[in-house]
């Protein structure tokens, strides 16, 4: 078969193997690529940086294992920053897998930064029916939340001193939604918009173009765009964990896709030109 035809019809199994290699090889290589922090990530970082110790932050975590590759590092970066700043934070989920996944992250980082569950952070667990739930939540947080992830009474201030002074949405200094879905729109509508709570979003890369609308309109104050955003945030924090390697994997995978798209198109155009010269159909 002619080389130009081969370049246009590469077997999908060859692509799969090359993609697998481009994603996995960076895990075993130490490649440090320069990272330019986007304005949206910088804005989110600055907002947390300007919070006072003990300020209360709500982490609305709505991701499952399917998007762990992107949302996991985002959650880790944000929890790291909040623990370093000694801010109090609560985690709330409308996705059933989230409470277990974020509990593990908070427990692990809590040991590192001396952050104690119930005192510095709390896991409110999984809830259903986001719209109706949030309508009441903004008015009276303890009355709607009621229990933690472990079914313990959140109004027990001896066990959960973190809840002291937390009554309405006005007591939340910052709301951050980490999700691969459009649940952030519900938070914009019923919490950020209704009660003027500053809000940021950490979406997956595929959601980024959509979230730009809300960033552009000022309805959200910052954004951590997917895995690259987590890498940018990590560079701001000065930490260097596996996120950088994950970001390199994403980089190589993107380059592979671009390379094959360009190769396919160049081959197609050259073939057309050859056909035209030979007097055949272009």
């Amino acid at each position: 078969m002619h080389i130009l035809r081969i370049l246009q019809t590469v077997d999908r199994r060859v692509l799969y193997v090359l993609l697998m290699l481009s994603v996995t090889l960076p895990f075993f290589l130490t490649v440090r690529l320069p990272m330019r922090v986007s304005p949206a990530t910088q804005a989110l970082y600055d907002r947390i940086e300007n919070l006072a110790p003990d300020d209360f932050v709500l982490l609305a975590i709505d991701w499952s294992a399917g998007t762990r590759g992107e949302n996991g590092p985002q959650t880790e970066a944000l929890i790291t920053h909040l623990m370093r700043k000694k801010c109090r934070f609560a985690m709330l989920a409308f996705e059933p897998q989230s409470p277990t996944l974020c509990q593990a992250i908070a427990e692990r980082l809590g040991k590192e930064y001396g952050s104690i569950e119930g005192v510095n952070w709390i896991n409110w667990g999984y809830r259903v029916d986001a719209k109706n739930f949030l309508k009441g939540f903004v008015q009276d947080i303890p009355a709607v939340i009621k229990t933690t992830n472990r079914q313990e009474d959140v109004t027990n201030l001896n066990k959960f001193p973190i809840m002291k002074g937390i009554k309405t949405a006005s007591d939340i200094k910052l709301l951050i939604n980490i999700a691969p879905s459009n649940i952030y729109q519900t938070y914009v509508q019923f919490v950020a918009g209704a009660k003027k709570v500053p809000m940021a979003v950490a979406p997956t890369s595929v959601m980024v173009p959509e979230v730009f609308n809300y960033l552009d309109s000022g309805q959200i104050i910052g954004m951590m765009p997917g895995l690259p955003g987590a890498g940018e945030y990590e560079s701001l924090l000065g930490t260097n964990t596996k996120v950088t390697r994950f970001a390199n994997s994403a980089s190589f995978a993107h380059i592979l896709i671009i390379l094959f798209i360009v190769l396919g198109n160049v081959a197609m155009l050259l073939e057309r030109r050859q056909n035209a010269r030979a007097g055949g159909a272009a």
Binding site: R12, L15, L19, L33, P34, M35, R36, S38, S64, A65, G66, T67, G69, Q97, T100, L101, R127, V128, D129, N132, F133, K135, G136, F137, Q139, D140, A143, V144, K146, K167, T168, S170, S205, V208, P209, E210, F212, N213, D216, P225, P228, G231, A247, N248, A250, S251, F252, A253, H254, I255, L256, I257, I258, F260, I261, V262, G264, N265, M268, L269
Partner: protein, 267 residues
């Protein structure tokens, strides 16, 4: 308002609610079709009316919950009880979904054909996961049930979920390679935009234009990507979002006022 109850009273409330619902369903099933339709329409209208009136009626400063500086009207204090009741109703909808799945797969499993094994797999995984997870979350859970819960949730479910999602990357690569061909002006524009956005998204792409002096910052690929996303993409998606919003409003109004036909109000 609507304070939670504990102990024997809780069981009495649950039992009473079940009897009440069963009686209501029995009465509803005896009614003629037309009457059932009007009852469903009336309940839908009243249900939707609460939030609409609470939003549109004039408000005045009042104490809401523990917030002395809130604004509201006579319906506002009922928002919190509604927030406790409505999610419980939504949770019942999940239960209905499970009943539906059991009915469907029960029939398929009993047919004993080549597909029956899939339905049996559904029953085993659904009942197994639920039983193990409930057992592992009990206060006196045994180490075995905790370990089983961990194996099924962290070992199986999470990894299966991640695998299913990861497979998409392979299909996207193959599809992008085959579909992105410059066969027309529109396709060329789409391809060029996609490549710029992809390059601007990754560190290697940003490295390609890193040599350009800061004076010509607008030529950096990440700056061009940002411009495309905020100046071209955002207005377009916003227009689509507004269209979707108006469409949703129209559908919502039709359902609320009982104008929608089909599965909402008809048998």
């Amino acid at each position: 308002m609507l304070e939670p109850v504990k102990g024997g009273l809780w069981y009495a409330y649950v039992l009473g609610s079940l009897i009440l619902v069963a009686a209501l369903l029995a009465v509803l099933s005896l009614l003629p079709r037309r009457a059932k339709r009007y009852i469903v329409m009336t309940v839908t209208l009243l249900g939707g009316l609460f939030y609409a009136l609470e939003f549109f009626l004039p408000t005045h400063p009042m104490m809401v919950g523990d917030d002395p500086n809130a604004d509201g009207n006579f319906l506002t204090p009922f928002i919190v009880p509604m927030a406790n009741v409505l999610p419980a109703i939504s949770a019942c909808a999940v239960g209905l979904g499970v009943i539906n799945l059991f009915q469907l797969h029960g029939k398929r499993a009993l047919k004993r054909n080549a597909d029956s094994i899939n339905s049996i797999a559904f029953f085993v995984s659904c009942i197994g996961m639920a039983a193990v997870w409930i057992a592992s979350k009990q206060p006196q859970a045994s180490p075995l049930s905790k370990a089983l819960g961990k194996i099924l949730f962290e070992g199986a479910l999470q990894n299966l979920d991640a695998t299913m999602f990861s497979i998409i990357a392979f299909y996207i690569t193959s599809a992008a390679y085959r579909a992105f061909r410059v066969r027309s002006m529109e396709a060329t524009l789409l391809l060029a935009t996609a490549i710029i956005v992809m390059l601007g998204q990754i560190t290697i792409g940003q490295l390609l234009t890193a040599w350009i002096p800061p004076r010509y910052d607008f030529l950096h690929v990440e700056v061009i990507r940002n411009w495309i996303l905020t100046k071209i993409n955002a207005p377009a998606t916003r227009a689509i979002a507004i269209g979707l919003g108006i469409g949703s409003l129209a559908v919502g109004l039709r359902i609320w006022l009982g104008l929608e036909r089909g599965s909402y109000f008809d048998e």
